[in-house]
């Protein structure tokens, strides 16, 4: 099996650290520019593929052009394709292909990985596997296919709530697989594991928090072997996904979980710092910008803006600001420019000043929300469980609604934008919205 070097969309501080000083500085500036809340206008940048949960920079924001402002079940739909089984994982894109996971509701040990053509939505290949240990899951809002897969452009890494990880090449050839549930114990989870894997250099990193012995683990992405595994004995069930943030000339692996946030050294798994103050169940994935980690914990928990770079318990020293209102339980929040947007499960949207945490506006949108918002440099997209997407203008200190678009199918998965195409995963179909 051959593996390419790390593509541009996968940040790699470890690699940069070994470069000469000037190159290293340039590299870090590039990374921090990308991670630093899209300081460049994303519409002026080339579109990056949506290779993982929450997109190329793991923040819900697409580079490149926006999709059509308006659509419906019959308007601006390039194609829609029925998907097998169920799942709330997001699709991911790479060039002319889309990859999506699914699992069967009646027989949750039946796992699917599907590759579709971006051009016409046809299924190019579909693989089925058995999952080791299905857990309980929500009747509509989750399945064993809740984690979003990740790709480095050569291989796809699919992780399921059954505790299984599969690596396939882009043509669907199986490379390796791990049954973490067999090796380290079954997950105990009442809504299925949802945490999505991330790639760093040669590592595939997973956050496995559950009722039983929780852990974070890094697998060698070429062989599947364990590079490090960090037990998290004080951690309870959570569904948040890990993310990387820059800190000096290194990176920190941020794990939001029940009651606390941990930062690990992503290359070794060693604990760097901890912050208390999260609620007992954490689902949203944190974002990063303006040098701050924005973490939110529900239900009805706080939003914290945290400075990375601490050591030990930094609850008293590294929380830049805290806001107790408007926190979602399920949807992740999004940081667009100077504003931090939250949508709670009941449809209350809140916009905070990213620098101070002060509320800019709050408004009840229509319906209930499970999917996380996504954005381009121009617009922010909030899709509710009834399939209604409300499009807001970005970079505004007030609520500016631009469109309401409905597809009349339930939506629980977070949508994806790549090169002006919007991909919505409904309960039955994958939709491609495009001019």
């Amino acid at each position: 099996m051959r593996h390419a070097s790390v593509p541009p969309s996968v940040t790699n501080h470890a690699a940069i650290s070994s470069q000469p000083p000037l190159l290293r500085l340039i590299g870090l500036l590039l990374i921090h520019g990308c991670l630093g809340n899209q300081l460049m206008s994303s519409s002026s940048m080339a579109a990056e593929p949506w290779t993982q949960w929450r997109g190329p920079q793991r923040n819900g924001i697409a580079s490149g052009p926006s999709p059509p402002l308006t659509w419906s079940a019959n308007k601006n739909v390039r194609w829609k394709t029925a998907l097998p089984g169920s799942g709330i994982s997001s699709p991911i894109t790479w060039k002319d292909r889309i990859f999506v996971t699914a699992a069967e509701r009646e027989h949750p040990d039946q796992l699917h990985l599907i590759c579709l053509s971006r051009k016409d939505g046809s299924i190019l290949w579909q693989r089925r596997f058995w999952g080791t240990a299905p857990t309980r899951f929500h009747a509509t809002k989750s399945s064993m296919a809740s984690p979003t897969p990740v790709t480095d452009g050569q291989f796809i890494y699919a992780y399921y709530g059954t505790g299984d990880v599969f690596c396939l090449d882009l043509d669907g050839r199986l490379q390796w697989q791990r049954s973490l549930a067999t090796e380290y114990g079954r997950f105990e989870n009442r809504f299925s594991a949802t945490s999505s894997p991330l790639l760093l250099a040669n590592l595939l990193i997973l956050q496995c928090d559950h009722y039983g012995p929780s852990y974070a683990i890094a697998l060698d992405k070429q062989t599947g072997r364990t590079r490090w595994k960090t037990p998290r004995p004080a951690t309870w069930l959570s569904w948040s996904s890990p993310r990387l943030v820059p800190s000096g000339d290194t990176q920190e692996l941020i794990l939001c979980s029940s009651l606390k946030i941990d930062a690990l050294n992503p290359m070794t798994g060693k604990l760097l710092w901890t912050i208390d103050g999260m609620r007992r169940e954490c689902i949203p994935t944190p974002v990063f910008g303006h040098g701050l980690i924005y973490a939110v914990s529900g239900p009805k928990g706080p939003t914290l803006a945290i400075r990375p770079g601490g050591r030990g318990n930094v609850t008293g020293s590294h929380v830049q600001w805290e806001n107790q209102r408007g926190a979602p339980y399920v949807p992740s929040a999004i940081l667009v420019g100077d504003y931090y947007y939250l949508i709670d499960d009941q449809g209350i949207s809140t916009c905070l000043d990213a620098h101070t945490g002060k509320r800019s506006w709050q408004k009840r949108l229509t319906g209930a929300y499970t999917a996380s918002p996504i954005a381009t440099d121009q617009f922010i997209y909030f899709t509710n469980e009834d399939g209604l997407t409300i499009v807001l203008a970005a970079h505004q200190d007030r609520y500016v609604e631009k469109a309401r678009n409905r597809i009349d199918e339930s939506v629980y998965a977070s949508s994806v934008i790549d090169a002006g195409q919007l991909f919505i995963r409904s309960s039955r179909h994958l939709w491609c919205i495009a001019h």
Binding site: M1, H107, D109, R127, R128, F129, W130, T132, R136, D164, F166, R173, L174, Q175, W176, Q177, R178, S179, T182, E183, R190, Y211, L219, D220, T223, G224, R225, T226, W236, R279, R280, K300
Partner: protein, 389 residues
């Protein structure tokens, strides 16, 4: 596309493998069988897969043989081959799907459920009527029981809607007897109740629903799980103890919950940072190995005949049906069951209810009761205490 199949296809499969090819195939399966933890054997398995993909539908029985293993990693490598071979075969104008082999395989309960299910999915391509015909007969099958019961429930519903009440009752009773899933059991029970036929869910599922209860003992913060109180040394139903706020003693309780969940907030007290105990004596008709299935909020410890058979130190974990299971030995005659249930501090959010409850049953591997009878407390004791109150 008309898909034809041959009854003799299975026999032909055996003849279709020349000796040298058979060696290669055997070696390939050996390699795949060694794939396992830590991604071990993946590269070799990947090569073996390529060799197997040189073959066609003739290796189907071998694939089923090697998918039928506890090594799920190896099974998935084989399934990967299976899927591609089947996809190729079904794309042919006249696919040769070995229906006889599949029918036999499906009905042989020695095979693992997941491979039998896979075989049935394939057979559906060529003999969809087989499922229709055979499924209702699999009411005791460990893999297909649930679907078979579902079919019976649907037939019963049809009979009820058509006004054939006697038929409906018969079908619901069959469903009730064979169902092991709580939703199917309660559905059948509800339908029967609507037809004025009583059945006992508690007995059917083997719940224990009559108890002597004691508590609350004071257990600040999260100290309850590790702290020992007198019942763990000796159960003395006549004794009294200093409790959290007052002197406490054992009292009887029968839960009204149809699935045997005992609510200690109601039965003992709405409290926090406390420990409660439940005790019962049950009669087993024989020495037997059974499954203890339980759930508790907060954490829970279970002793059977003074031997600890289950303990779970976890707070805020919720009482859910059959959440935990543990193997357990019961002796013929009387068995003493002691349960400890902790109650933690109030959640920071006062809106989060402080549940304090448990649910426990003893059953066989399928979930059926194992013939236990509650000896103590007796129904008369429960009635007497109710009257005293």
């Amino acid at each position: 596309m008309a898909i034809r199949y041959s009854i003799v296809a299975t026999c032909l499969l055996c003849l279709a493998l020349p000796a040298r090819g058979a060696d290669t195939i055997r070696q390939a399966f050996q390699v795949i069988g060694q794939a396992g933890s830590e991604g071990r054997g993946s590269a070799a398995a990947s090569q073996a897969v390529e060799q197997l993909l040189q073959h066609g539908i003739e290796i189907l029985p071998r694939l089923f043989e090697h998918m039928d293993t506890d090594n799920l990693v190896s099974a998935n490598w084989c399934r990967y081959v299976y899927q591609q071979i089947i996809t190729r075969e079904l794309a042919k104008p006249t696919p040769q799907i070995p229906a006889t082999f599949l029918r036999t395989y499906i009905l042989d309960s020695k095979h693992r459920g997941r491979t039998r299910r896979l075989a049935w999915d394939l057979l559906d391509h060529v003999e969809p009527q087989f499922r229709q015909q055979r499924l209702p007969q699999l009411l005791d099958d460990r893999e297909f029981r649930e679907e078979a019961v579902q079919r019976v429930l649907e037939q019963a519903d049809e009979a009820r809607q058509d006004g054939r009440e006697a038929d409906a009752v018969k079908q619901y009773q069959i469903a009730f007897q064979h169902a092991r899933q709580s939703s199917q059991i309660t559905r059948a029970a509800d339908r029967l109740a609507g037809l004025k036929v009583d059945v006992n869910i508690i007995e059917q599922m083997g719940f224990l629903n009559r108890w002597y209860l004691l508590g609350p003992f004071d257990a600040p913060e999260f100290s309850g799980f590790t702290r020992q109180f007198p019942p763990e040394t000796k159960v003395d139903l006549a004794a009294t103890y200093p409790g959290q706020d007052a002197t406490i003693g054992w009292k009887t309780h029968q839960t009204p919950d149809r699935l045997g969940q005992t609510n200690l907030v109601q039965a003992i007290a709405p409290t926090r940072e406390a420990v409660g105990y439940a005790y019962a004596e049950v009669h087993s008709p024989v020495d037997q190995e059974v499954q203890l299935r339980c759930g508790g909020d907060d954490n829970m410890t279970v002793w059977v005949n003074d031997r600890q058979v289950f303990a779970r130190n976890q707070w805020l974990n919720g009482t859910r049906l059959d959440r935990f299971s543990a193997p357990c030995s019961l002796q013929a005659g009387t068995n003493r069951i002691l349960i400890k249930i902790c109650q933690g501090p109030q959640h920071k959010n006062p809106a989060v209810p402080n549940n304090w409850s448990f649910q426990i049953r003893f059953c066989d591997a399928t979930g059926l009761n194992v013939g236990l009878k509650i000896l103590k407390p007796t129904a008369a004791e429960i009635a007497a205490e109710k009257q005293r109150k």
